[in-house]
Symmetry: C2
Subunit: 305 residues, 2 copies
Amino acid sequence: MALYGRVALIGLGLIAGSMALAMRRGGLAGHIAGTARTDATRTEALRLGLCDTVHATATEAVAGADLVVLAVPIGAMEGLAAEIAPHLAPGATVTDVGSVKGAVIDAVAPHLPQGVHFIPGHPIAGTEQSGPGAGFAELFDNRWCILTPPEGTDPAAATRLRTLWEGMGARVDEMDAAHHDLVLAVTSHAPHLIAYTMVGVADDLRRVTDSEVIKYSAAGFRDFTRIAASDPTMWRDVFLTNRAATLEILGRFTEELFALQRAIRTGDGEMLHAYFTRTRAIRRGIVEAGQDTDAPDFGRAKTRG
Amino acid sequence: MALYGRVALIGLGLIAGSMALAMRRGGLAGHIAGTARTDATRTEALRLGLCDTVHATATEAVAGADLVVLAVPIGAMEGLAAEIAPHLAPGATVTDVGSVKGAVIDAVAPHLPQGVHFIPGHPIAGTEQSGPGAGFAELFDNRWCILTPPEGTDPAAATRLRTLWEGMGARVDEMDAAHHDLVLAVTSHAPHLIAYTMVGVADDLRRVTDSEVIKYSAAGFRDFTRIAASDPTMWRDVFLTNRAATLEILGRFTEELFALQRAIRTGDGEMLHAYFTRTRAIRRGIVEAGQDTDAPDFGRAKTRG
């Protein structure tokens, strides 16, 4: 028997599309109902067979659902929560997949009725592509999903949601929302802003042509452009809603960058070498933790003849 | 008949090792002589069959060579040039593979005798790994190699070197050394310093554990760690020798980052969205230019069942 009888996916982008495929792969949902803001996305989701039923409104999609997944930009969460709240089934679980947790809790929790379980979540997985067609069933395999259940969450509801994520291939961690937002500011939000900035600088510089930047991007810049190609709306909302933690990390980053710039300016080779040696170790940790391979794909994929 | 009768590779790391394999693949060198600073590297290069002969000194390696490739860290170039200069064959071509061209020219050119052609070069290819074992024959395929022949360079010698790089799979561009150093500051040197810095900040932050950083690295940070895992000695020398251009780009970067931080602080969502939309276009240009695929490997490689 399926873990949830009816799952409602609100928003049908990369993450929700991948969840639909991963739930099907695992036989985790009896019925998948979906909705999206635009007609084009709804039609595309139907064509791809992501959902059993596609609905014109979130209200229709959540009717009778025992799991509701809010997979819309963070800026749209509050309006959505207010809209669906009167239509949620008693005992249903509401979760989300937003990249910021504190702001989502502030936006959603006040609207939800008694007897509905709200367990925010964030799968640490994605690609730089967006839309339902970008989804694939394996997206969450061996990736982490962080749940931030508020104090007093029903343990059975939390376990059931954790089981769903594990069934979709993910490893599940729990922490409080504020810590999540700090951790993600370091591992994701600050790096994204930095990548966006560097790509913007390259585009602005009049003495180096765009064509030169593009041709010689294999030299490091390529990885920045991949990050900076992510969905603009989602990322605008991330920065506006995880403002304090992101600005704190960027402040630390700037301070550190100034120290390294100073070492370059003064010719302090020892400081630079020691710094670069230390950062190498982190990469080894990531490879060992299985979050990447050590196959060299900076520059190009390695293909031995 | 081979393009060069005897090629001397001075330094046997990732680039020289890959050149040896690519030259063999293309039948471009009659004899490949190599040398490296440490006994371990020389032994490893012999074991891998990279060279026909491996020599204890650069002086021996360059004897009778019609092409000498300086593939050592930039800081070692001047001493090396002084050492080999008296032993270079008349009419030989000397080139290098350093990531900075102005500083290499300043270090090497004054030592070379009349009748030897000096044509600096820089293949825009690499991985975050180093050492002779990291080399592979396909490293340069469809990558760009920039040559910066000084004014008055013998056209036949330049054409011959260009033909070598094309035979190793590369596309060749020519520009002056100062412009090369600015272009690379944008596409490579500044991005590397930024990635090193962000990885350093993550490591320093006491409230987020290393284990958390590593587990959740798929969220963008992973690409930074790949860049920041590059060879510390090589990168120290790059920053010390391309100081002016790197500091100029970092100055522009900081200015731009402050503007984006300000937009976050003041809640200027329109500015952020417009900025992020613009940077997306550059990514598309890189994919179209064939320097990357649009397969999403941010997060994980896509595998459809």
